[in-house]
Amino acid sequence: MKKLIAGATALAASAMVAMTPVSANAKTITLCWAAWDPANALVELSKDFTAKSGVDMKFEFVPWPNFADRMLNELNSKGKLCDLLIGDSQWIGGSAENGHYVKLNDFFAKEGIKMDDFMPATVTGYSEWPKGTPNYWALPAMGDALGWTYRKDWFAKPELRDAFKKQYNRDLEPPKTLDELVDIAKFFQGREVDGKKVYGAAIFTERGSEGITMGVSNFLYPNGFKYQDPKKPYAMEGFVNSPGAVKGLEAYKALYKCCTPPGYTDAYMGEGLDAVKSGQVALQMNWFAFFPGLYKDEKVGGDKIGFFVNPKGSAGSGSQLGGQGLSVVAYSPNQAEALAYIKWFANPEVQKKWWSMGGYSAHKAVLNDPGFAKTAPFAADFLVAMGQVMDFWADPSYAQLLLAEQKRIHDYVVADKGTAKEALDGMIKDWTKVFKDDGKL
């Protein structure tokens, strides 16, 4: 028994000793982002920064489904894990108002970094809070929007082209409208291609973080959905639940029900990539960020894959904005080095290299370059998409608004509760309550 007590106290003591913090090396800073292809590219790119400045880079990457939870928790607990954070565009409001991010206006002025050098949509989307005012909290780091991929080699098969032409009286080509997209998905659903049963489309249906909201937006925006009256902020009736929006939501549910692989009830980016790489689907909805990686894939890349921007709807076009901005965390003890990183990153040469390595630069020097559209098969579509992007709310209460939409949309689309109009009406009710609590209504 004596031994047991001695052992226990020794364990407890060694536990205490193991916890004494190691003094941090002042010449290393940590950058936090989501764990995906562009992050790996950034690791490579940042070697240039280390070479030029002598500051070592450490990275903390968190998979997308856990990214928001973990990082917002970190910011709210004033954590010192991250010196730099490439945070989602929706966090700008909360982070600005609650003092998580360092305001960058003075730094930009001092170093001659001009927001005019970046695409306006990205400046508004990733840097400004309040929106439309010259208060900058991030450097636009990663431009992104929701686009589509398709199996070019299947579309080229003569027997499939004939069958499609017979059934729909037009050629099997990338769709120009959402209705055409649904037709193509229906055509491929359950068909045997290359000896295996395949399915129509891989779309976003994820419940836990933001998946289904991002996915459904691509069907809502082109059908006239607006978050609020352009003339009256936070007035949502008739804009969120306009007849076009209701039709768009119904179409998304129809697409989900008819033309997705089995078990596709909680799918986001990763599942979509898996579906494409294992040859299961003809169409895939995903962020442009993944397209460089897919194009390079041995099994389904190269000639086998094609890309198209989100097709038009009944009221025009629209793509869901993705992308993030690079911010300095206010609780970081290494702000000088972090700002140096931002200065390095804003350099047009670095931005050009960023694009070449698979990161989506938001800098005009890259995007307005005349040869840009030819640099990759998806580059032209990316420019079109960025010209028609709409983003979700970026208010400080964005999480409540997002969770409300996640619940209402998933309840309707996947759990078969109520009608599309009821879902959107319910959303307005939920959002009104949030804005009332915030004093905005």
């Binding site: 939870d69 917002l72 928790n73 709210n76 909360g94 108002e97 609650n98 003092g99 994820e206 419940r207 836990g208 692989p261 089995p262 078990g263 596709y264 009830t265 909680d266 400080p396 209460s397 999480a399 409540q400 969770l403 619940k407 998933h410 309840d411 309707y412 996947v414 759990a415 078969d416 509760k417 609590d437």
Partner: protein, 320 residues
């Protein structure tokens, strides 16, 4: 140890024989001092990490505090939080999902667990080994279990549908557990039962082992049938243990969060959104700290009240 027939009397006599001052020195630290030294670390820790936070939660529940807006003005809102929770249909839906989950897991785990315990109590050769094997699912982390059962429940690549297809002949992709509104609640019940039936089995086994042989022998002498013995001896004497297992599992499953969150995220829609998932979303995603504190208090009072009633019933059963 010398076998003392009247140890207390001896101790008393010894104590009387020893003068007061020496007695104190002989016994070292006084009993009262030891009692306080032994008990206070635990009480202090519980005070700091349980009581003080509980009081803080109660205080927060009357405000509109938000943990992510430390600069905002915090105002007292009285019982607004409580009334809005009790009138919120989504909260009631979450409580319903929780109740469904708790009820069916208790029923299944008690039935299967007790049966297993009874079988193991037949004491066949190797029963110790098989008991240990059966215990293994209990040793996994519920979060990790929820995560890999998502893999198992996948209609195309997961094992579960294929096994069901093997035995019943239905097409594996023709149904899905976590994605369907009817089957999702059962998917979480199945996983929880898989994990925790061994726990119930252990408690029931302890109960069965505590029944002395002589009672059965007496019943045999009275020529009672095995069936009769089971219902008149085994069940009543094991009942306190069974009820204890039900209490523990009930409390644990009322609080359930990790396994369900990783398995279904509360979906599809909110079909499997149990109370703790709602609480987590309110507290740590929407950051409505005051509101979620009120919800936490309501949950606590509910469990506390139900457990209280149950324990009284349990004590009655034990005293019979």
């Amino acid at each position: 140890m010398t076998g003392q027939t009247t140890p207390d009397k001896l101790a008393q006599r010894a104590a009387q024989a020893t003068p007061q001052a020496i007695a104190k020195r002989v016994r070292g630290l006084s009993d009262r001092a030891i009692a306080w030294i032994f008990i206070s670390p635990t009480m202090l820790l519980l005070l700091a990490i349980n009581i003080f936070p509980l009081i803080w939660t109660i205080q927060l529940s009357f405000t509109n505090f938000r943990a992510n807006r430390t600069n905002a003005v915090v105002k007292n809102v009285g019982i607004d939080n409580y009334t809005s929770i009790l009138s919120d249909p989504d909260i009631w839906a979450a409580m319903q999902s929780t109740a469904h989950f708790v009820f069916w897991t208790i029923v299944l785990q008690t039935l299967i667990g007790f049966t297993l315990a009874w079988l193991l109590d037949r004491k066949f050769r190797g029963h110790g080994f098989w008991t240990t094997i059966i215990l293994i699912p209990m040793m996994l982390s519920p979060a990790v279990v929820g995560n890999f059962w998502r893999f198992l429940y996948q209609p195309q690549i997961g094992l579960f549908n294929y096994i069901i297809a093997f035995f019943t002949g239905v097409e594996p992709s023709s149904f899905e557990m976590i994605g369907s509104v009817q089957l999702a609640p059962w998917s979480i019940i199945i996983v929880d039962t898989w994990m925790w039936t061994p726990y119930v089995m252990l408690i029931c086994l302890a109960g069965l082992r505590s029944i002395p042989d002589y009672i059965y022998e007496a019943a045999e002498v009275d020529r009672a049938s095995h069936w009769r013995q089971f219902w008149s001896i085994t069940i009543p004497m094991a009942l306190p243990f069974i009820m204890l297992a039900v209490l523990f599992r009930g409390i644990e499953n009322f609080k359930m969060f990790d396994m369900v969150n990783l398995l279904t995220s509360g979906g599809p829609g909110s079909t499997t959104e149990v109370a703790s998932i709602t609480l987590k979303r309110e507290a740590f995603e929407k950051w409505r700290t005051g509101f979620s504190s009120a919800f936490a208090i309501i949950l606590f009072v509910t469990v506390f009240g139900l457990a209280n009633i149950y324990v009284k019933a349990l004590n009655q059963v034990k005293s019979r």
